[in-house]
């Protein structure tokens, strides 16, 4: 647990120091400090994960050493330690990109990115409904401030994003208040022993679910996402799509797999799974029709979250531990792949001087590395073996294919795969159009392009550790 707490407090401390240092610190040094802190946090998270893999059990920490129920509890299990590691890893990757690519970021990016890292870590470790609310708010405010980093044109989307995010948190908070009023407890573990399926509990859970789905941009509450994610600076888009929307998803998972009584969870499961299936197709179709590169990538987030929601829905319906593994494999694979997609899209935009997909003609020749990164990451989204995306889809499909009555779900997954293949290939096909090349405005930034490729290589590398990951996650599903 100590390692996990270190992994949590290092980025928070770093954020405080960076705000304290103020204007005297230039962007380069601030970046170096932030990256070193993320790396330290990464090391601590690695130790925490190793400890977890060995113990394979849940550690509960009573804050302040008080008896259970009185104080906030933090919880470390294989899943939360894996998510800690994943968060730190993403921050290191994107931090390195932001520091060394020519596109760069402003000084204000660094404290915010450290805040983001810290609030996500706090979220993964929390096992208290109200504490989760605060981490949710922290996450939301950080995300909004980061979107606004893009400058004047992003203020309007950032303001809309903030108002939606506040409404969503208030829904969640109202639900928490009702739950507390009903059961007199905020602790996830204690609540899981107490909850009954009465009317008030149903209402509270539904209100919270609506809020969390809005925050996580799950279909049909996803309409805000493309504007916010596509207007942010490149590195921020990568963090938002790769990490931020996963926070509320995690709370949704906690809520239904632990807090809610099993019979309620089984009732909501199919609804979530069907919404996920629709998200897959609807998000994919929107991505296909989008004229802009970044909007395409943002809509693809909506679609890909559909897989996660489907896995969650099926997990609740059948109470099948395997779905738990699929859900979190999706989250990690998508995070890495989406980071590359946004970084590559941003690099290509900058180099070619166009936001439009049609401007990518001949990109295989003019910006080969970035285009390659885009295609590689896209491959994982589609689920080509042996990528991380394939791994997740494989785990999801196995139980679906084994029983004939589950084939409709499998068909949904297949349809989603086809649609994602369509929008990825649309970009790739245009980039091979070497007859009418769109000449680059500036010399390509080689470092930036290669750094954009890095997360995509990682997601393909995930397959190598596949067995280990599956075992680890299966261990924490109990």
């Amino acid at each position: 647990m100590t390692y996990a707490l270190v992994s949590l407090s290092v980025p928070l401390f770093c954020a405080l120091l960076l705000t304290l240092a103020g204007p005297k610190l230039d962007s380069r040094h601030a970046g170096q400090i932030a990256i070193v802190c993320s790396a330290l946090s990464l090391v601590a998270a690695w130790f925490a994960l190793m400890q977890m893999a060995e113990l394979n059990q849940t550690i509960l920490l009573e804050l302040g050493g008080w008896e259970s129920g009185l104080a906030i509890r933090l919880r470390l299990n294989p899943l939360s330690s894996l998510l800690l590691l994943f968060t730190a890893f993403m921050h290191v990757l994107i931090g390195v990109y932001a520091a060394f690519s020519r596109q760069g970021v402003s000084r204000d990016f660094w404290p915010l990115s450290s805040f983001l890292h810290g609030s996500l870590a706090a979220l993964w470790l929390s096992a208290d409904l109200f504490n989760l609310y605060i981490t949710l708010e922290l996450l939301g405010l950080t995300a909004v401030a980061m979107v606004a980093l893009a400058g004047k044109k992003a203020y309007k989307p950032a303001a809309n994003y903030l108002i939606l995010s506040l409404v969503a948190s208030l829904f969640y908070l109202l639900g928490v208040a009702l739950i507390y009023g009903r059961y007199g407890s905020l602790d996830v573990v204690l609540l899981s022993l107490q909850t009954q399926s009465d009317l008030l509990t149903r209402i509270a859970l539904l209100i919270m679910t609506a809020g969390l789905m809005l925050k996580a941009a799950l279909w049909p509450l996803h309409l805000w996402l493309p504007a916010a994610h596509a207007n942010a600076p490149t590195a921020v888009s990568a963090l938002l799509s790769g990490l931020v929307v996963k926070g509320p998803l995690f709370i949704l998972f906690l809520l239904w797999s632990e807090v809610a009584p099993v019979d309620l969870a089984q009732q909501i499961g199919p609804v979530l799974a069907i919404a996920g299936m629709i998200a897959l197709v609807a998000g994919g179709l929107s991505a296909m029709r989008s004229p802009y590169i970044k909007t395409l990538v943002a809509y693809s987030t909506v679609a890909q979250l559909g897989y996660a929601m489907m896995a969650l829905g099926l997990l609740l319906t059948w109470q099948l531990p395997q779905m738990h593994v699929a859900l979190w494999l999706f989250v990690i694979a998508h995070g890495l792949a989406k980071a590359t997609l946004f970084l590559a899209a941003g690099e290509m935009q900058a180099t070619l001087g166009t936001k439009r997909i049609s401007g990518l003609r001949g990109a295989t020749q003019t910006v080969p590395v970035a285009m390659f990164a885009f295609a590689v990451a896209g491959g994982s989204l589609i689920g080509l073996p042996p990528s991380g995306g394939f791994l997740a889809k494989w785990v999801l499909l196995q139980p679906l294919l084994s029983e004939p009555q589950n084939w409709p779900w499998a068909f949904g997954v297949l349809l989603g795969t086809l649609v994602s293949a369509a929008y990825i290939f649309r970009v790739v096909a245009i980039s091979f159009d070497r007859a009418r090349i769109n000449p680059p405005d500036i010399r390509p930034d080689r470092v930036g392009h290669w750094l954009a490729l890095l997360p995509a290589l990682m997601v393909w590398g995930m397959a190598l550790t596949g067995d280990w990951l599956i075992q680890l996650l299966a261990g924490s599903s109990v």
Binding site: F130, I134, E137, G140, L141, V144, A145, A148, K152, K153, Y155, K156, A158, A159, L162, I163, L166, V167, L170, L173, L174, A177, L178, Y180, G181, L186
Partner: protein, 108 residues
């Protein structure tokens, strides 16, 4: 009916009313007022629930204190974003028109 029940219901009514108001308007300031009212409704429910026992439940009071800080922080950030967005929009418009000093236009 007790005072606690009355205020719980009033809190829920304010939450829903504000939600309706939020969906009815496109003006950012009014939306933000609506969000704050939703928050006030939630806090009212929490304070009413705290008053079920005497002395009132300290945990709920502490949660409301925390919630208030979060609400004011978010409101301040939102208002700055809204005004900055409007001013940015405005200056862009006047640039497009090719004329002048926006500070004259914005003064009340």
């Amino acid at each position: 009916m007790s005072a606690m029940q009355l205020y719980t219901i009033v809190g829920a009514a304010i939450f829903l009313l504000a939600l309706h108001g939020l969906l009815m308007t496109t003006d950012s300031i009014r939306r933000l007022i609506a969000v704050n009212l939703m928050g006030a409704g939630t806090f009212l429910i929490m304070i009413a629930l705290a008053a079920r026992i005497s002395p009132p439940d300290p945990v709920l009071h502490a949660l409301v204190v925390t919630g208030l800080v979060v609400a004011i922080s978010a409101t301040a950030l939102a208002l700055r974003l809204i005004t900055s967005a409007a001013i940015a929009q405005h200056s862009q418009d006047s640039e497009n028109k090719g004329d002048g000093d926006l500070s004259e236009d914005v003064k009340p």
